[in-house]
Symmetry: C2
Subunit: 335 residues, 2 copies
DNA sequence: CTGTTAGCGCCTTCAA
DNA sequence: TTGAAGGCGCTAACAG
């Protein structure tokens, strides 16, 4: 069961290696009979083309790099499922780069990605800043490696193909719903200012709150749920106008907030209406079950991969900015 | 900023390409002065060796394949973080294969993995069966691709290097603790019979229960939390001896159980003590916070990668079976 | 429709 | 310590 090469197959099938290569890559260019024969031999010998030789000769790897922040984020992991399923359709492999694990400069890593000869790059990092964005553009322009941003975006420019939902609108809608529910003192629980998508949610929230003439209350948590609890308690210990509505930029933040409030004796949703953002498993495992924006994260992954494939194939992608529809799921933490 | 090749570097540094190759792969074999010079040129030109050519010539890819079941499982995603950090130390890349996305036979995919020329394989799938196990052994023996099983194991044989915790012991300890807490009617909430690790947990539970002369109660859920709720309710509607202790093989199962029971008016932990298994984020986001076995999942990932690296380097791995220590975290669903 | 041939970019003896 | 030369396994013209 030693590794068979294209030569072994060619010899056994009594053809030249070119014919073997053709039956694999351009089947229509080879006579059906010989094709069958070659295919049979290939199966018998368990032949699989060596990916390196193929890549070296064809300049294509049928591999895309997926650059992700922290893998343990539920949304990232789910998106990867969507990407994997779609990639499978095209027989593409996925090379993963986890940013969190970096000791080295990110620009160094991007160079490494280029050196790895991937056909395209999927960038899932939501902390995209100007420098990173420039670097990505260089890679796309100079090295001709197509890039697609998934579930993130760079709002100041749109040279890169992007797939996401309308975070601004979603947050605006959430806030509007809370207002319609009669909530007067609505808080936004967000993260430190570096996540582009959360900045957009913030803007959506602010717009709705301003329109309604309500106060704007923004709390920035670390995203680390273990410290949130303390944080939340402190925050609402002696507030004069009691909080009655909350929008959290992540489900996990919403859930830890709910837990803290219920322990403090507040009733959810009677006293406080709470919306999360993403519809991860956390949302359905919370008690009460969390109302939230449903971000079609798997679809985003799949769509991003599909668009990347198009770009790789040289088909011009007309829409740079692809907004997928979201929905709002009313469960038991609202109304 | 075009892709520089080794020839460009050689020309610019006024040496042969062999010397460039050496300064990169065997620095000690080249005179310090020329080494410096070459290195400088490499930097200037932003040269990175083409991964394909390198792989083709050297027969090494510095890439390992990571085969995972469903990515969205929290434990899998976290393990990947550990793997990524460790892989980074050796400058190894990670090629991901998601089994769930498969339309094709798994054996087909394994052949593909071999064709991709990876230096080693990390297998995270916990549903390992005899056929799969045999296939993996073939790959390791015939194709000489080292394999490490991470957070899973094949209990009937131990030819493959394995990293995990002692699931049997952990479940035994959990059960013992429940018994010590005076629980008499302890249930094990597990999955369908196909997850090896869960079978071991089951054995540990059974042993402890038998030793104490208690009834054994095993509930097999689908693992799908949305159906669990109904399931749980039905189950305990009219039981004569009320359930007073639970061990769930996954945190998410424990949490959905807790939610159901509390809605049914049971008190946790007063009426029912509950232990989970894994210590994922679900555990700290539940109310009350879930007591559970802490599986050092990141360490398992890192250790598995480290052992794989050793195998790849030809250093014999003395211990086939690597058991990492676990601990039990008492939070608020027990006592 | 099929075979021949020249690389792809790099590593690795073998000589010098 | 360095250079020359032969592959690694495959693809892609170019002939036939």
């Amino acid at each position: 069961m030693n590794k068979a090469t294209i030569y072994n197959v060619a010899y056994a099938a009594n053809v030249s290696l070119a014919t073997v290569s053709r039956t694999l890559n351009n089947p229509q260019k080879v006579k059906p009979e010989t094709r069958e024969r070659v295919l049979r031999i290939i199966k018998e010998l368990g032949y699989k083309p060596n990916a390196f030789a193929k890549g070296l000769a064809s300049k294509k790897s049928t591999t895309v790099a997926v650059i992700v922040p922290d893998m343990s984020r539920a949304s990232v992991a789910e998106m990867l499922n969507g990407i994997a399923v779609e990639a499978r359709k095209y027989d593409y492999s996925l090379l993963i780069y986890v940013l969190k694990s970096e000791k080295t400069e990110e620009s160094e890593m991007l160079k490494e990605v280029v050196a790895s000869q991937v056909d395209g790059i999927l960038y899932l990092n939501d902390e995209i800043n100007e420098e990173q964005y420039k670097m990505l553009n260089i890679i796309q322009d100079e090295y001709k490696v197509p890039i697609v941003l998934a579930n993130t975006l760079y709002p100041y420019d749109n040279k890169l193909v992007t797939v996401c939902i309308d975070y601004f609108k979603a947050a605006y809608e959430l806030t509007t719903r809370l207002i319609a529910q009669g909530r007067k003192n609505i808080y936004l629980m967000t993260t430190a200012r570096k996540y582009m998508v959360n900045d957009l949610k913030e803007e959506g929230y602010l717009k709705a709150v301003k329109e309604a003439g309500l106060n704007q209350n923004i709390v920035r948590t670390s995203g680390d749920i273990s410290v949130n609890t303390v944080h939340f308690k402190e925050l609402f210990k002696d507030s004069t106008t009691p909080i009655d509505g909350v929008i959290a930029v992540r489900d996990s933040i919403a859930v830890s907030f709910i837990n803290t409030m219920i322990k403090e004796g507040r009733k959810i949703p009677e006293d406080i209406s709470v919306y999360g953002f993403q519809n991860t498993k956390y949302a359905s495992l919370s008690r009460p079950k969390l109302s939230c924006v449903d971000v079609p994260i798997i679809d985003i992954g799949a769509k991003a991969m599909a668009l990347l494939k198009k770009e790789i194939d040289g088909e011009p992608v007309e829409m740079k900015f692809n907004v997928l529809p979201h929905s709002i799921i009313e469960r038991n933490t609202t109304k």
